[in-house]
């Protein structure tokens, strides 16, 4: 009898990895609710708009998932996002550099900051939550000093089209293409490669991973590079779409990314999480926000609602994982 039950759960798990399946159902239910509540929700225009707005957060949240699975956090992503934007904007406007070269330098600068995060954690062994809390403030300071706290306006160009403004086949906003492309890449890295297994093992049982010959510190350092790269890509998409850069952009983005990851089933303790789950988690957050806007809800109430969704998701996750045992 008991064996039978066990067999059933494994079959169900196989459908979509069980947890991802639950998140998918939640995403669909919320979509169904808003579709009934407001006729505007289920329109092509709204759905594409929703996804486009999700792109920046989704790209960072999926990278954050890789890092959280490895057992670390990066609270400085929002600040790295700002530094990448400011460096790019500064070079393209004040230095008169070509936008391509400016963006490249901006992204590399962001990667440099990610490398510093990894180095800091490897050499001092400080908890990454605290370490990146401090680098978040330092990096934000860098963005403010470099820009003299002023925003930049950028010229329209092919570059802007490619990263932010164009529409594939005339309908799909190009940020969605970047979101999906980045998602597939991270999916392959985390769920299909040997490196991905090392990420899971590092967050699951670090000592065991070390004893199995995995260089867990190296794995985590790569994780910090991935979040920094995501912040860079996201910043490029943002400045391309908005044509502007502000040094305060991305404030709070790190917490939204962690929230999306948690809604998607990532365990804060490490060793559990999925890219698809986080993608759906990001979607749920966007659904709730846009849905509330369409319903004409007060803007100040939205954050409170997203907060409730996070709490609910965590409760369900904990219930699911204890039930399985």
């Amino acid at each position: 009898m008991e064996a039978n039950l066990k067999q059933k759960t494994t079959v169900l798990q196989r459908i979509l990895g069980m947890r991802d399946f639950g998140v998918l159902v939640a995403a669909l239910l919320i979509a169904a609710f808003f579709s009934i509540a407001t006729p505007v929700f289920l329109t092509g225009y709204n759905l594409f708009n929703l996804l486009r707005q999700t792109a920046q957060l989704g790209i960072i949240a999926m990278a954050m998932t890789v890092l959280i699975v490895s057992g670390e956090f990066d609270l400085s992503v929002g600040a790295i996002y700002a530094v990448t934007g400011v460096v790019t904007g500064l070079l393209a406007t004040k230095a008169g550099l070509n936008i391509w070269a400016s963006a490249l330098v901006g992204v590399v600068a962001g990667l440099g900051l990610g490398f510093l995060n990894g180095l800091l954690i490897a050499t001092t062994r400080i908890n990454s939550f605290i370490a990146t809390l401090s680098t978040m403030m330092v990096f934000r300071g860098i963005a403010l000093v470099l820009s003299q706290a002023q925003p930049f306006s950028l010229q329209l160009s092919f570059f802007m089209d490619l990263f932010g403004r164009a529409e594939l086949f005339g309908v799909v906003p190009v940020p969605i293409v970047w979101l999906l492309g980045w998602g597939v890449a991270l999916y392959l890295v985390l769920h299909r490669t040997a490196f991905g297994v090392k990420v899971f093992a590092s967050g699951d049982n670090r000592e065991a991973a070390d004893l199995a010959g995995i260089k867990t510190m190296r794995v985590k350092q790569v994780g910090f590079l991935i979040t920094a790269l995501a912040a860079g890509l996201s910043a490029i998409i943002s400045l391309s779409f908005l044509k502007t850069v502000t040094p305060t952009q991305g404030t709070g983005l790190e917490l939204e990314a962690i929230a999306a990851s948690v809604i998607g089933g990532t365990a804060m303790s490490g060793g559990v999480g999925s890219i698809l789950g986080t993608f759906l988690g990001t979607l749920i957050m966007a659904e709730v926000r846009t849905g509330l806007v369409l319903l004409g809800t007060d803007a100040y109430v939205q954050d409170a609602f997203v907060g409730l969704v996070i709490a609910l998701a965590v409760i369900i996750n904990v219930r699911l994982s204890t039930k399985k045992k």
Binding site: A3, K6, T10, L188, R192, T193, A194, G196, V197, K198, F200, A201, D204, N205, E207, A208, A209, D210, L211, A212, G213, I214, G271, V272, K324, K325
Partner: protein, 260 residues
């Protein structure tokens, strides 16, 4: 006698002012099960960790298959065929059985000619083979470690070391976390492995286990090797005396527990 598989000469490890392992000599021969005994803090685990590449010795030499070796990391030891099973069962709880067996040495195959992806089918199949060879039964190799019993976990850990063609197996408290029946199974497994000519070092507090499974005993106290006995020539009483350092008992093997 055959050449020793492992030979330690004057192996020493200090932590600050404390000498955890003090000039220990030890030989292990092919197909032999050696019990390493001692009270808490006697230096057994430290000694073992030098052989498995976790600690670097401060003095002395390690010879493996007749050649002196220097181990920079656990991976160096694994590559030579020195496999260690730790008492807290070094497995990743959320990964499945075959992912743990291949942990750190995952099998991959090319994908679209661009990247290498995990070869699940191969790892599953190979894991099945090795567990079968050890007569270990686990319902599904796709189940996560956290859903397995202590004995099944130990079996997975042993399966892992065997798959990688262990030339020397070190087991730190292999039965500590197990129920009685599972303890029996693990001890049987130790004999199966020894009969396949793999030498094994077993650390244990359970005298019964040690006596039922080993050929030779090495006793440590405060970092030093204090005695070495053939298992069939000694008694639990004598061994207890040696562990806690009561000379009288050591001289009178048949005596009762020491009045320490």
């Amino acid at each position: 006698m055959a050449e020793p598989m492992l030979q330690l000469r004057g192996l020493t490890k200090r932590f600050g002012g404390l000498t955890a392992v003090d000039r220990v000599d030890l030989e292990v021969y092919p197909g032999e099960v050696v019990g390493l005994l001692g009270d808490n803090g006697a230096g057994k685990s430290t000694l073992i960790k030098m052989v498995s590449g976790v600690y670097h010795p401060d003095g002395g030499q390690i010879f493996f298959q007749g050649r002196e070796i220097r181990l920079g990391s656990p991976m160096d030891a694994l590559e030579l065929g020195i496999e260690t099973l730790y008492q807290d069962l070094a497995l990743a709880e959320n990964l499945n059985v075959y992912a743990n067996i291949f942990l750190g040495r995952e099998r991959t195959k090319p994908f679209l000619g661009l990247i290498r992806v995990l070869d699940h089918a191969n790892m599953h199949e190979e894991s099945e083979k090795v567990l079968k060879r050890l007569e270990i039964e686990i319902p599904s190799l796709k189940s996560q470690i956290k859903h397995l019993s202590g004995g099944q976990r130990q079996a997975v850990a042993i399966g892992r070391s065997i798959y990688w063609n262990a030339k020397l197996l070190i087991m730190d408290e292999p039965t500590a976390a197990l129920g009685v029946q599972e303890q029996r199974k693990v001890l049987d497994l130790v004999r199966v492995l020894a009969s396949q000519n793999i030498p094994i070092i077993v650390i244990s507090h359970q005298l019964y286990d040690i006596f039922s499974v080993t050929d030779r005993l090495v006793i440590m106290r405060r970092g030093r090797k204090v005695a070495e006995r053939r298992t069939k020539d000694t008694t639990p009483d004598e061994v207890v005396g040696l562990i806690i350092g009561s000379e009288e008992v050591a001289q009178q093997p048949a005596g009762g527990p020491p009045a320490d």
